[in-house]
């Protein structure tokens, strides 16, 4: 395909500067390669090697500690339980036979086909929405990205629950006199699972494809049109250019769907449709815990991430997709005529109504209507729960329990942890994205890529348990290093969930940045750091802000890792909310959720507003437009 596109896809790697020779390179302060003799040469070479590969090694080392060690520990205990105090054998394969007896393959195949279906749907949904918002004058362009945000933050179990509230026998539709029983029966099955997950994971496809579309000026389309090409020819040019983003979105949606627990434990479980993550969860919560079985299932989940990666390496092998250079111009929008504009606007609005309307209904109904279903006709709307949460005391009949639902401490703690995690993730994620976006990855990078995507496919409970195995070793305690149940380890756990996802979202954008941007700065005499600051940071600044915001929000509400790793006495907000809900105080739990959401929206408004006000205008125009 690439042979047929005579556009600037081939990076002129090494064209001009090498021609200029080492003297010129030395003059402009570039590292020089060539034959030298003696100790000086050796020193220079060592320094050169360090500057070339030092950064990469440090990044891989951090990833190794954050992801490889805990995931590895969890997988290892499946064959060597004794190593982690989980059994008597140093080596056994009994967990495998146990896992295969327990329908592991069936659950895994269910998960895989659902993920493939969700990928296909989300390419259409995410790609279509990205194109409409980025490239047409569809109505409401300023508000849709915000909605996409809200969708990214909506937990999948809440979406499943919201739809259940709508469709169930005594649900909202039934109250309104609409007979939804036919839809209800279809919904409670694989179809509903695919439907909810496709809606929930659409933002991942939207974000990655939007990023690519934003960096793609309209010059490619114009070039085709000038040469007499029609729409199909245009698509044949544009689609391959977008390949890294499309593949990144496939990989991400696949892994996110595989790892989903919210739908697999509610909708899928209730309709007797077993998925892999539920099998893992069940093995882990069984007593005595079957960590071995969970480990085997995790190995299978991790391996499944090879499917989208194989596709990715087949398609992108050795090609460059750098299109974001100094010559990139903002794209022109297609001006739709009125009927088309209205039709597209209603398609977008319809999507958000399906995706956000239902969970919103679930969340707000749950918090205001104290007896959902039973007294639904009376519309028993009450603000009591909110009053209790804000005053920090709970009224139980005649008994007042002081401090029972105190919100301030967990809220502040989660705010702090989420901000630290988001900041480290933005920086580290960018470094990882640069490594992964390498055009000709070595075996090491490929293995790292599989591990990272695989870790996205693993449910949080596996990472959490892996962290306990890896960082609560008796030998470490003997040396006085007790990381388990401390805040630093909790932050590391959060990073292990956020860095793989965020680096993959950034990868599409990073792959587009043409090295000519940096070369231009260096040729003009800028030193490495300042070239980087003036030519690279502006291009990726929006992506960084976006990564920060997504990570902040996801971390704020992260539950499984928080549950397993939080220091006793220092509850994050997600654990506090879960405790109320699991003790049947749904009203208080939901009211806390709503207040926490308001705080998160305030942080999002301050950070994105701050970026808009403080960052130079040029920064905001390059790269991702209309994404955040």
């Amino acid at each position: 395909m690439s042979q047929g596109i005579p556009l600037a896809l081939e990076e002129p790697e090494g064209a001009s500067p090498q021609g200029a020779g080492p003297d010129l390179a030395a003059q402009v302060g570039l590292p020089v390669t060539g034959k030298r003799r003696g100790a000086k040469a050796f020193g220079a070479r060592a320094a050169d090697t360090l500057s070339r590969y030092g950064g990469a090694w440090v990044v891989w080392l951090i990833l190794c500690i954050l992801v490889a060690v805990p995931v590895g520990a969890f997988l290892l205990q499946a064959i060597s339980p004794r190593m982690f105090g989980q059994g008597s054998s140093w080596f056994t394969l009994s967990a495998f036979s146990q896992a295969f007896q327990a329908n592991a393959f069936k659950a895994l195949l269910n998960s895989i086909w659902v993920s493939v279906a969700v990928c296909a749907l989300d390419l259409l949904i995410g790609g279509g929405l990205a194109w409409m918002v980025q490239r047409t004058n569809v109505g409401g362009r300023r508000i849709w990205p915000g909605f996409m945000w809200a969708l990214l933050l909506a937990p999948t179990y809440l979406m499943a629950q919201g739809w259940t509230y709508l469709l169930e026998p005594k649900g909202v539709f039934a109250q309104m006199g609409i007979n939804a029983s036919a839809v209800y029966h279809v919904f409670f099955g694989p179809a509903g699972v695919v439907f909810v997950l496709a809606l929930a994971n659409a933002p991942f496809a939207y974000l990655t494809i939007s990023a690519a579309l934003g960096g793609l000026g309209s010059q490619y389309e114009e070039a085709v049109r000038v040469h007499g090409g029609g729409r199909i020819a245009t698509a044949r040019v544009i689609v391959p250019v977008l390949a890294p983003a499309v593949l990144a979105s496939i990989a991400l949606v696949f892994a996110e769907t595989m790892s989903d627990y919210g739908v697999s434990s509610t909708l899928a479980f209730q309709s007797h449709f077993q998925m892999a993550t539920y099998g893992i969860y069940e093995a882990v919560t069984d007593l005595p815990t079957q960590f071995g079985v969970a480990g085997v299932l995790s190995i299978l989940l991790l391996a499944s991430a090879a499917i989208p990666l194989a596709l990715q390496s087949r398609v992108t092998r050795g090609r460059s997709y750098a299109i974001l250079s100094g010559r990139t111009r903002p794209a022109n929008r297609h001006l739709l005529r009125r009927p088309a504009k209205w039709a597209m606007t209603s398609v977008v609005a319809g999507f958000f109504l399906l995706a956000l309307g239902a969970p919103a209904l679930g969340a707000f109904y749950g918090s205001f209507v104290s007896n959902l279903g039973v007294e639904i006709g009376a519309h028993d709307l009450t603000l009591n729960a909110y009053r209790e949460v804000l005053s920090g005391s709970t009224q139980y009949g005649h008994v007042q329990v002081e401090g029972a639902s105190a919100l301030a401490a967990p809220l502040l703690l989660s705010l702090e942890l989420a901000a630290i995690t988001a900041t480290v993730t933005a920086v580290l994620g960018l470094a990882v994205a640069r490594l992964l976006a390498h055009r000709r990855p070595g075996r090491f990078t490929k293995a790292g890529d599989l591990l990272l995507l695989g870790s996205i496919a693993l449910p949080g409970i596996v990472l959490g348990a892996g962290y306990i195995f890896a960082f609560n070793l008796p030998i470490a305690s003997r040396f006085g290093v007790d990381l388990y149940e401390t805040l630093p380890l909790l932050v590391m756990g959060y990073l292990a969930t956020s860095v793989p996802t965020q680096s993959r979202i950034m990868m599409g954008q990073v792959a587009q940045v043409h090295t000519s941007l940096l070369e231009a700065a260096r040729v003009h005499g800028a030193r490495a750091i300042s070239a980087w600051r003036s030519a690279y940071v502006p291009v990726v600044s929006r992506v960084l802000v976006l990564a920060w915001l997504v990570t902040f929000t996801k971390t704020f509400f992260e539950l499984p890792i928080s549950q397993l790793l939080y220091p006793p006495g220092q509850e994050p907000i997600s654990v506090a909310i879960n405790s109320w809900v699991s003790n049947y105080h749904y009203d208080i739990g939901t009211a806390m959720t709503v207040l926490a959401l308001l705080l998160v929206f305030a942080v999002i408004a301050v950070v994105s507003g701050g970026f808009r006000l403080l960052a130079p205008r040029g920064w905001q125009r390059v790269g991702w437009r209309n994404v955040g």
Partner: protein
């Protein structure tokens, strides 16, 4: 396509960039670690008592205990599932001091793995139920009773509820019954085991649950989910823990609770970590004595009046909350937690493969 990977220029520029990024990441990670470890190591000279608990009244109880004794308490308040997962995962190097959850079978299983301190019992005046619930090796201490698998329904939609367990198999209730998954919900395995115990064995019990499944049984994760399904009208009969059902009845008078004979007793209990430092084990004993004191019992009954406070006491002289029916009006059975605790894994696997699937 130009293939010239040995391009010093492009490398020379991008790699320092990566080094820069990496060092920023490294510095910030290190900073997080040091500041956080500072918090972690700033412990007082008194060993804090680490309490892992899923009880609704736990924070009321630990706050009062800390005030009364000056022993600092670190409470990990969570659902039973994650707490037991943590205890199993940290077996190598346990960090917990005392565990407080529902279900003697869970404690029996921990005891059989050698994770509980044995041989200590507080000097209190047990009532009949309490005396029966203390294990022979004194590895855990009962604190109260709820019932597993009580029948909960809405009397607006169900006017003639079933009166025996066999009634549940009638086609009349086809698609109307819901229960929790024993592999996920702590208080549900004792219900499953209790039915097997009552019917005469594992095979008979499996037949009963297969019958329920053929009658369109709905399985949810926890009490809360099953209750939500009842309130939403998806099911008409919920088989859940008594405290959840009675609590729902306090909030909504149409919700009724019925105890099909026999109903299985579900003790809540406290167990001490066998590998905890001696000082912490002694603190844990003080905590257990506090919970079973007059003040401790009052706090247990006021800490969560629409949930876990709805328990039948294990001590003489403590009367249950008014919302609870008299024990004499209910036919209760207890099961041997050690016999049934060791079967939990295989029975849950059977349940997952045959009922949930």
């Amino acid at each position: 396509m130009l293939r010239n990977p040995k391009n010093a220029v492009s490398r020379g520029k991008t790699r320092p960039a990566l080094t820069g990024l990496a060092s920023v990441a490294l510095v910030s990670t290190a900073l997080t670690l040091t500041t956080g470890t500072g918090i972690a190591t700033a412990a007082t000279s008194v060993t804090p008592l680490v309490v892992y608990s899923a009880q609704g009244y736990d924070s009321t109880e630990t706050t009062a205990f800390q005030k009364a004794t000056g022993i600092p308490v670190e409470l990990d308040d969570d659902s039973t599932g994650p707490l037991l997962t943590k205890i199993e995962a940290e077996k190598n190097n346990p960090k917990w001091g005392v565990l407080w959850v529902d279900g003697a079978t869970a404690f029996a299983s921990l005891d059989q793995q050698g994770l509980l301190m044995k041989g200590w019992e507080p000097t209190v005046s047990w009532n009949a139920l309490g005396k029966e619930a203390v294990p022979p090796d004194k590895s855990y201490v009962p604190t109260g009773f709820t019932m597993a698998g009580t029948l909960v329904y809405d009397d607006k939609t169900v006017t003639d509820p079933p009166t025996t367990w066999q009634d549940l198999l009638a086609t009349k209730w086809n698609g109307d019954i819901g229960m929790n998954d024993p592999a996920v919900s702590g208080p549900t395995y004792p219900f499953v085991a209790g039915m097997m115990n009552y019917l005469g064995g594992v095979n008979q019990g499996e037949k009963f649950y297969t019958g329920l499944e053929n009658n369109g049984l709905h399985v949810y994760l926890t009490n809360g989910d099953t209750l939500a399904a009842l309130e939403a009208g998806i099911i008409k009969l919920a088989l859940i823990q008594s405290s959840a059902g009675i609590g729902a009845g306090i909030k909504d008078p149409d919700i009724k609770v019925k105890f099909l004979p026999p109903v299985t007793a579900l003790p809540s209990a406290l167990g001490i970590d066998s590998k905890a430092p001696k000082a912490e084990q002694l603190e844990a004993e003080k905590f257990i004595e506090f919970v079973l004191s007059t003040q401790g019992q009052q706090l247990m009954q006021s800490g969560d009046p629409t949930g876990d406070s709805l328990y039948w006491p294990v001590l003489t002289g403590v009367t249950p909350l008014k919302a609870l029916p008299a024990l004499s009006s209910i036919k209760v059975q207890t099961i041997n937690p050690y016999t049934w605790g060791s079967r939990e894994d295989t029975i849950n696997t059977w349940f997952t493969d045959n009922i949930v699937e």
